[in-house]
Amino acid sequence: MKTWQRSLLMLFGLLTVFGATAYAQVPDAPTVEFPYTGNRTAVWIVAQLHILFAAFILGAPIFVVISEWLGYRKQDPRYDRLAKEVIKVTVILYSMTALTGGLFIFVLLATYPAFTSWLINHFFLIFAVIYPLLFIAETIVLYMYFYTWESWKGELKARHIALGVLLNIIGTVTLFVIDGPTSFMNTPAKAEGASIVEFIQTATLWDKVFNYSWMPLNLHRLVGNVTFGGFITGLIAAYMFMGAKNDSERAYYDWMGFVGNLIGVGALLFLPFMGYLLAYELCDYDASICPYMMADQLSMFFEMQGAMVGLIFLASNYYIWLSMKRIEGVERVRVSVLAVLVMIALPFVMTYVWTMYPVPDPRSLAVLLPMVLLPVVLGRFIPFTVSSRAAIKVSFLMVIVGNAIWMTPHGFVATGAKLVEELELPSDWSFLALMPAKNSAAITLVFVTVVSYFIYNRAIKQGTIVWGKIDFASQFVLIFLAFSAIWTMGLMGAVRSLLRKYFHTYNLLPDFTAESFTPTLAYSAWWITGITLVFYLVVSFAIILTLRVSESKAHAHEGSPAPAGAK
């Protein structure tokens, strides 16, 4: 070794020794205590905001690429314009996702340093390598997708669509990867008979990722993101419709709102079942989670969820009702009486069937499937029909009945410990609070909504849509749907996190802070509303910035009133 090399080595050695000594003498950093909100709520706000932005940037591209493909296949420029306008907003919100993600990590590290290090250490490969790489790949592909929109036209369009598909694959993989640590916090990997604390020391990364709630959470979030993306598209359309300067613009944004809502509602129909699957797995992981959710501390959160789901289904059916009004010739459309009869009978019959043969017993399907297919199979042979207007009114009635069943609690108390006779369902009617009744309520909501869209579809085949002539109230319905969907996401996100009870990671890493209790529903509602409003403010700004300001270019003919066949 040469002299200069030896000197350099000694210098590094000295720096290491004195540096470490100096560092060791640095006093501990002061602890962080967020004023007014407290640490837990501060983390909640930032995390929820991050998830809302992330949900949009993952959900929107799924139907953006579908819309682009439809435009290409049907040679209808409206789809291409829709896709491009939504992706413009997505690009702006992408930076907000990264910003809130970074903020989330900083706040988490400052407020819960021990837990954050513990979690990062368990998933080091994901946090340090896989996730950043996926994020970089997604950034590159997203910007490529956006900036090649105009240049990859005509013959190159298929290549552009393929790029969109690649973007969605990366997005979905990113979601699945980050769901690993998230779901692990709720249902950490365990082995039968072994201590969870001991098992986790030897568990592989895959063991930790592939935990009980990982795949249900993946599916729930995937479907939820598409719903969310659809409703936000509806929101964009509503804003633009309100600010439209001429009939052509109004016609286009009326159409865009309809498409966004259609995709949102289409995905929404699967959401109760995805939520059910997630809850089922959580209860399967630890049966004590079930009463905590449904009968104890969080039971009223689920009542509120029931109310929100009911309102969302009512609003989506009301939008269809208003959409029907702008179809010329709708009064000629008639529906088989069987559809109406099945709608009315469904909640009662299925409550009985599922009580006898609980889910997932296949025998219940032997009743359910023939029943819901009855109007389609036998409808054309039975001459009795009702007007579409009457059929949709019955569907509203059944949404209210279904929602009433969904929301009927076992008792009007926030915890089973305080249940008294004056607040409890009579024993003869206690079945109304059990899962068979709740499942039948969910299937009723889904079925009547499908019937409403089926009627709408028949109406547009027989009549002519006058785009742009929709009742102005429909724009508030679109805004309501987006607001309520975001609010419900916030509520259920809070529920999923609170299910960990007084643990950072359920049964594994306790939360010793004074904030590890279950907050009240009212307190949670304040914050959920606040988070929703902040998110709305940013999204509204992004819409105005990207679409209203750059609107000066004229869009020829895309939204002119069109016959039904041209949609």
């Binding site: 039968e192 008979g193 009007f412 102005f472 049964n507 409003l533």
Partner: protein, 272 residues
């Protein structure tokens, strides 16, 4: 404008129908023995239905633009926010105070074993020593005055809790509450949702060591008639991680006292 009288007629007509439906539901709920709160709930659904059906036949909203649209939008957001916060506040609220003491007890042992707990213990000891030193100093100063009693080591709180009394059965009953066993097991006719067997006569059916084995390793025993629950692993396999050995012993001591043959507690079957 000519739609206005028609809409008012619509409101009146639907309002009357809604009131009749609400009245019928209220009466029927009363007749079927539903508590008052449920009767009101059914009336609320009738009112919701009325509002929905009024809305269905409401005249079209005129197109708004510019500032009017913006004001309408802001007002709409305000209404939504108030309705959602208000709606959530109307439901019965869980009192976090009920849980705080419970969590403190549940995590006490883990907290003590953690770095945080060790640091807290050191601080508490230092504080205790300092208080003792103060007391001695005070005594020296008074020279023959009344003795100053030093506070208990560790600053333990005074209070008549099960732990303080040292009653093992009372401690076990406390564990029954803390671990929320009542959510699955009925006892004295209270709690339980058929997830687990009634426990009133368990003291006559199992030995203490068998009970302990079942709590720590749920697959070792099955209650007769609960095959489905056993196969679905309904009893959580977590108490060996969550409970201290002395807490399990206390719970067992409590369960041993449950000897009421009038209640049909199912027979335990040894499985593994």
């Amino acid at each position: 404008m000519n739609e206005q009288p028609g809409f008012i007629k619509n409101i009146v007509k639907k309002g009357i129908v809604g009131a009749i439906v609400g009245g019928v539901l209220f009466g029927a709920a009363k007749a079927f023995g539903f508590p008052v709160i449920f009767q009101y709930m059914f009336v609320a659904y009738a009112m919701l239905g009325t509002a929905v059906f009024i809305l269905l036949d409401a005249p079209a909203l005129p197109t708004l633009g510019g500032m009017k649209a913006l004001v309408a939008l802001l007002a709409f957001y305000l209404v939504l926010s108030v309705v959602y916060i208000g709606g959530a506040s109307l439901w019965p609220q869980y009192d976090p105070e009920d849980e705080k003491g419970k969590i403190e007890k549940l995590l006490a042992a883990k907290r003590k074993a953690s770095d945080l707990g060790k640091a807290e213990e050191l601080i508490a000891r230092a504080k205790s020593l300092s208080e003792k030193a103060d007391a001695i100093m005070q005594r020296l100063q008074t020279l023959g005055g009344p003795a100053v009693t030093a506070p208990a080591a560790g600053g333990a709180k005074a209070g008549v809790s099960a732990a303080a009394s040292g009653d093992l059965v009372a401690l076990g009953k406390e564990q029954w509450e803390l671990q929320e066993c009542y959510n699955c097991h009925k006892l004295y006719g209270q709690g339980g949702k058929k997830r687990g067997p009634e426990m009133d006569n368990i003291g006559n059916l199992m030995k203490p060591e068998e009970m302990k084995e079942k709590i720590l390793y749920p697959r070792t025993w099955m209650a007769e008639g609960f095959e489905k629950e056993y196969n679905k692993k309904k009893m959580p396999d977590k108490y060996k991680d969550l409970m201290e050995d002395k807490d399990v012993d206390a719970l067992v001591a409590y369960l041993v006292t449950l000897k009421n043959p009038a209640v049909k507690t199912p027979k335990p079957i040894k499985k593994q």
